[in-house]
């Protein structure tokens, strides 16, 4: 084979996935906890492998697989997100009596799919990677076998996801038909001649974007998000919120800038519409939500709108700002969900916001971390969330999208209301009963790490900004 070294993390993940699956089949559900820790170890070693390959770049598997600094950055982020979301899920699986050995294995395969997504270099590998990830997640949504809501969520997710995959595939076939190739770079070369930009390619591009809009739940393709997030087991919701969107956004960036980098005007306007609608709907629809998972679903819709602003700007700085935004979003949601998973009273999970009343009186550490994370999601300095907003709005302003920037900050004021409402419930309201004090250790570690990053980023924001700048500059070298 060619330069197979650059794919070692993925190969390692695939092989260990099969091994863990075998172990699970032979040892049964009672072995799930060990499998979970095994999967976490695999992810951790995956980070090491990705990191060991950090200087490398190139193509392998007949140009289906591409590694560069951009992919490396996203893979590290994705793997860390997976570790966090799986680690916080372990006690939950036992508490909810859903210790199925498939859980860690499916997470692993979803993770493999995501890593392949950000490394795909070709319409075929794009689709295969996306489906590997999506199919694993559909099953995970229904992993609570005896829960109607879980089954409903999984079914909804599957049907709408399949529809979006269909559109994506249709778009891909149109692009192949009109360009004659499935390789990103060859398509880009083909499209650099203005005469070759035909209607067929544009329609294909739009279908492709619709498919991606489903995956990142941008309005008007967001309908599945609140239902699926609410219905799925909370640990799976945590996984959905924290990781797949980073991967989908990474893949979207690759497609837009590597395949269609020469025709930015054709897709920028589509993204403007998606972004504006997502920001507005994410802000207004969340105002009346009572369920924390549903609220986070709408918040995620809104946040994808902000993240897209960076892509609309179409500059190196813009892509970098999207990466920053996604990274910080991931850290904040990981913290929030590690807290949501802690909230159980007498063995029953709390999902209503009003049930968190006066948390500060019974669990001050958890409550104040939640407050810090909520202020950060509001975009208030000195928390890290501010730097995400700063980056994307700066990208928008420097590309002279003033109206978009003003619209974005105004919706962020609307969104501030529901984040503040959580703070109000937690800090100002009367306390209810104490929450259960079991199995909090791992989740506390995760939330404290997230809170420290959120508070500490202000001391040296360049650490994050320089890394993402390097990652995004790779995409622009070829243009």
């Amino acid at each position: 084979m060619e330069n197979i070294v650059i794919a070692t993390p993925e190969i390692f993940l695939a092989l260990s996935g099969m091994l863990l699956l075998m172990l699970g089949v032979f040892k049964g559900d009672s072995y799930t906890k060990n499998l979970c820790w095994g999967t976490i170890a695999v992810f951790a070693f995956g980070v090491v492998l990705v990191f060991a390959n950090r200087g490398l770049s190139g193509d392998t598997f007949f140009n289906m697989f591409h590694l560069d600094a951009f992919g490396t950055y996203l893979k590290v982020i994705i793997l860390l997100g997976l570790i966090a979301s799986l680690a916080m899920a372990i006690p939950y699986l036992r508490q909810e009596k859903m210790e199925h050995f498939e859980y860690p294995v499916l997470t692993l395969f979803a993770g493999l799919g995501m890593m392949m997504m950000v490394s795909s270099n070709n319409l075929l590998s794009l689709y295969v990677a996306l489906e590997l990830q999506a199919l694993s997640l559909y099953v995970l949504a229904t992993i609570h076998r005896f829960s109607m809501r879980s089954a409903e969520a999984g079914l909804k997710y599957f049907i709408l996801g399949a529809l979006s995959s269909g559109m994506l595939l249709f778009g891909a076939s149109l692009i192949y038909g009109f360009t004659g190739t499935i390789h990103f770079s060859e398509i880009a070369t083909f499209l650099s001649t203005p005469e070759n930009v035909s209607e067929g390619v544009i329609i294909g591009l739009v279908f492709l974007l619709v498919g991606f809009a489903f995956k990142i739940s941008a309005v008007p393709f967001h309908m599945w998000t609140p239902d699926v997030y609410e219905g799925s087991p909370t640990s799976v919701t945590a996984l959905f919120v924290i990781v797949p969107k980073v991967a989908a956004m990474g893949l979207l960036i690759r497609v837009l800038f590597e395949m269609f980098g020469t025709i930015p005007d054709q897709w920028a306007q589509v993204l403007v519409i998606l972004s504006v609608l997502s920001m507005a709907w994410g802000a207004f629809a969340a105002l009346t939500q009572e369920n924390i998972k549903r609220l986070m679903a709408y918040s995620s819709i809104g946040n994808m709108g902000y993240a897209m602003i960076g892509l609309i700007a179409g500059t190196e700085q813009g892509v970098s700002s999207t990466l920053i935004y996604m990274t910080l979003y991931m850290i904040m949601t990981a913290g929030v969900f590690s807290i949501v998973l802690c909230l159980r009273r007498n063995g029953i999970a709390i999902e209503r916001i009003s049930d968190m009343g006066g948390l500060v009186h019974t669990n001050p550490v958890i409550a104040y971390i939640l407050v810090i994370l909520m202020f950060s999601m509001t975009g208030l300095p000195p928390m890290a969330g501010f730097f995400g907003k700063l980056a994307v709005f700066n990208a928008a302003v420097s590309a002279e999208y003033y109206t978009l920037a003003v619209f974005g900050v105004l919706t962020s004021v609307v969104a501030a209301y529901y984040y503040l409402r959580i703070i109000k419930v937690v800090l100002f309201d009367q306390s209810i009963d104490e929450i259960d004090h079991t199995d909090l250790f791992v989740k506390k570690v995760i939330m404290i790490v997230c809170a420290l990053i959120v508070v500490g980023l202000i001391a040296k924001p360049s650490l994050l900004f320089n890394t993402t700048d390097q990652a995004s500059s790779i995409l622009f070298e070829k243009l």
Partner: protein
């Protein structure tokens, strides 16, 4: 000269106090006492540093002093840049002066969550000092916005019955204004290529951009100030906030708006400032007269003082936008004097509220008999608020009116009616609360100021009189910077703006400049018409 980074030390010393409070453990009562002691000492030490700052400030220089510059955020070229000039110096000192007083005022009153309360005030102090010392617009924004966090918590946790409504209103109002400023700061960064305030002050942007940027900054500062008609959050926030929260709110947070006008709007957008100055005059006049009338009809002591604050801030904006030396000096002096007087008036309300737990003016009466010391303190502060010569309130209002007179005598006359109205409601308040028959047994049973309360009032009262008698005490340090600011905007011809005001009552309508090309292009991008 001082060789150590005194401004950073002042800014972050309160945070060190926060860290100490965080590690306090043990019995609730003892840890509460320790938390109070730590908070008081760290804020007093900060104040001591601000005295060092004052002594070492060189009034012969016009530029920024005690400058510190570190590469903070090289990816964007944003620096950690601190420094003070004559305009910001006394706001820094005011912040560090009022914080220990606030902590002292809450000594026995706050019983719930004492540690958190003290931490909130120390964090607030950090943000306040940082706001006035920051010389980088992003850094300024970080501190300016950061203030919302502790203040939201102070109103929301320790406030009165409608605290949640007020906290949300305060937060969302101010946040809405500030985010527009963020876009403006980023636009400036894109236009000029730096976020460094001294550089931005020296390099005005293209005129057509100035109007938009000025409005965006105005949105933020006018809400913070607060100017009519975006003042409605203030009475709610004041009424519901605990006493110390009201003190900081009136004493320092409102001044951030006026400081912002002086630091950003005027030097960076001189053309737009001249263009919009008449609008500001009219808004100020409306604020002075209208809110004074509203204050007249209040039954709630805190609400009355809150409305009087809006009226006093009207004098500030009027003075600042006259753009002459007297007016601006008057505006700054009025802010500082109001920072002392209204802060102390809220403390006065707090004193009787702690004893009676009501702010209803009619529930008091004749308390001069049982609280003579209190009545004296209240009298001095009240006369200061009314603007009696010999108190600091007079100097600020007089200078502001003097500045306004140079622009247009009618402005001064209209604003002058506000002084009369101010005297009316303030004296009525004093008459009802302090004099008159003692009809309420509980009110006549109240004890006079104790040593702790005396300790908070004495420094303020002394300063109010000292500044009233000898304003040069601080004026000679403020003056050079103000003169420089005026010299900087002189070329943009004040006269023209005056003419405009005579001919055009509502300058914001009709004569607004045509939409600049950049904005047009942006609209194209939003639509479908952008060509390659």
């Amino acid at each position: 000269m001082i060789t150590f980074p005194i401004l950073s030390l002042m800014t972050f010393l309160p945070l060190v106090g926060v860290l100490f409070i965080l590690i306090i453990r043990g019995d609730a009562e003892i840890s509460a006492r320790n938390a109070k002691a730590i908070a008081l000492w760290s804020s007093l030490f900060t104040f001591a540093l601000s005295c060092v700052l004052l002594v070492n400030f060189d009034e012969t220089k016009t530029g920024f002093q005690f400058v510190e510059m570190i590469d903070w955020f090289p990816a964007y070229g944003i620096k950690y840049h601190l420094g003070v000039d004559g305009i910001s110096l006394f706001f820094v000192i005011l912040s560090s002066f009022l914080t220990p007083i606030c902590i002292l005022s809450s000594w026995n009153v706050v019983q719930r969550r004492v540690k958190e309360y003290m931490m909130a005030f120390l964090v607030l102090e950090t943000f306040m000092i940082g706001t006035f010392a920051a010389l980088d617009s992003i850094l300024f924004y970080v501190f300016f916005e950061g203030v919302l966090i502790p203040m939201f918590l102070i109103i929301g946790i320790w406030g009165g019955d409608r605290r949640i409504y007020s906290a949300f209103k305060f937060f969302l109002y101010t946040f809405l204004g500030s985010v527009l400023m963020l876009v403006a700061i980023l636009t400036l960064y894109f236009q000029v290529g730096t976020t460094d305030i001294p550089t931005l002050m020296a390099s005005p942007v293209a005129t057509y951009m100035q109007y938009w940027l000025w409005l965006a900054f105005f949105a933020s500062f006018a809400v913070k100030m607060p100017m009519w008609p975006v003042h409605t959050w203030l009475p709610d926030a004041h009424v519901e906030a605990p006493t110390a929260g009201s003190v900081i709110l009136a004493g320092v947070l409102l001044k951030m708006g006026g400081y912002g006008f002086l630091r950003f709007s005027i030097p960076m957008f001189p053309d737009a400032t001249l263009y919009f100055a008449p609008m500001v005059y009219w808004l100020s006049i409306i604020a002075i007269i209208y809110t004074s009338l509203v204050a007249l009809s209040q039954q709630d002591m805190k609400k009355m003082i809150a409305y009087s604050s809006v009226a006093h801030m009207g004098f500030v904006t009027l003075g600042i936008f006259t753009l002459n030396v007297q007016g601006i000096e008057g505006g700054i002096f009025q802010m500082l004097s109001h920072g002392l007087i209204s802060a102390a008036l809220f403390l006065c309300v707090g004193v009787v509220y702690d004893r009676m737990h009501t702010r209803d003016i009619n529930r008091y009466g004749g308390i001069v008999r049982n609280m003579p010391k209190y009545a004296t303190v209240f009298m001095i502060l009240l006369l200061g608020s009314v603007g009696l010569p010999g108190t600091s309130g007079f100097v600020g209002e007089f200078l502001a009116l003097l500045g306004a007179y140079q622009v247009d005598p009618y402005l001064a006359i209209l604003a002058g009616t506000g002084v009369v109205l101010g005297a009316t409601y303030m004296l009525w308040l004093y008459k009802t609360v302090i004099f008159g028959p003692q009809v309420h047994a509980d009110a006549s049973g109240m004890s006079d100021l104790d040593w702790r309360e005396t300790a908070m009032f004495v420094p303020i009262v002394v300063l109010v009189i000292a500044l009233g008698v000898y304003p040069s005490l601080i004026m000679e340090k403020i003056s050079p910077s103000v003169k420089q600011l005026v010299a900087q905007i002189e070329p943009y011809s004040v006269k023209e703006a005056n003419l405009q005001m005579f001919t055009n009552i509502e300058p914001a309508s009709g004569k607004f400049p045509p939409m600049p090309d950049v904005i047009k292009n942006d609209n194209d991008k939003m639509g479908m018409t952008k060509d390659k």
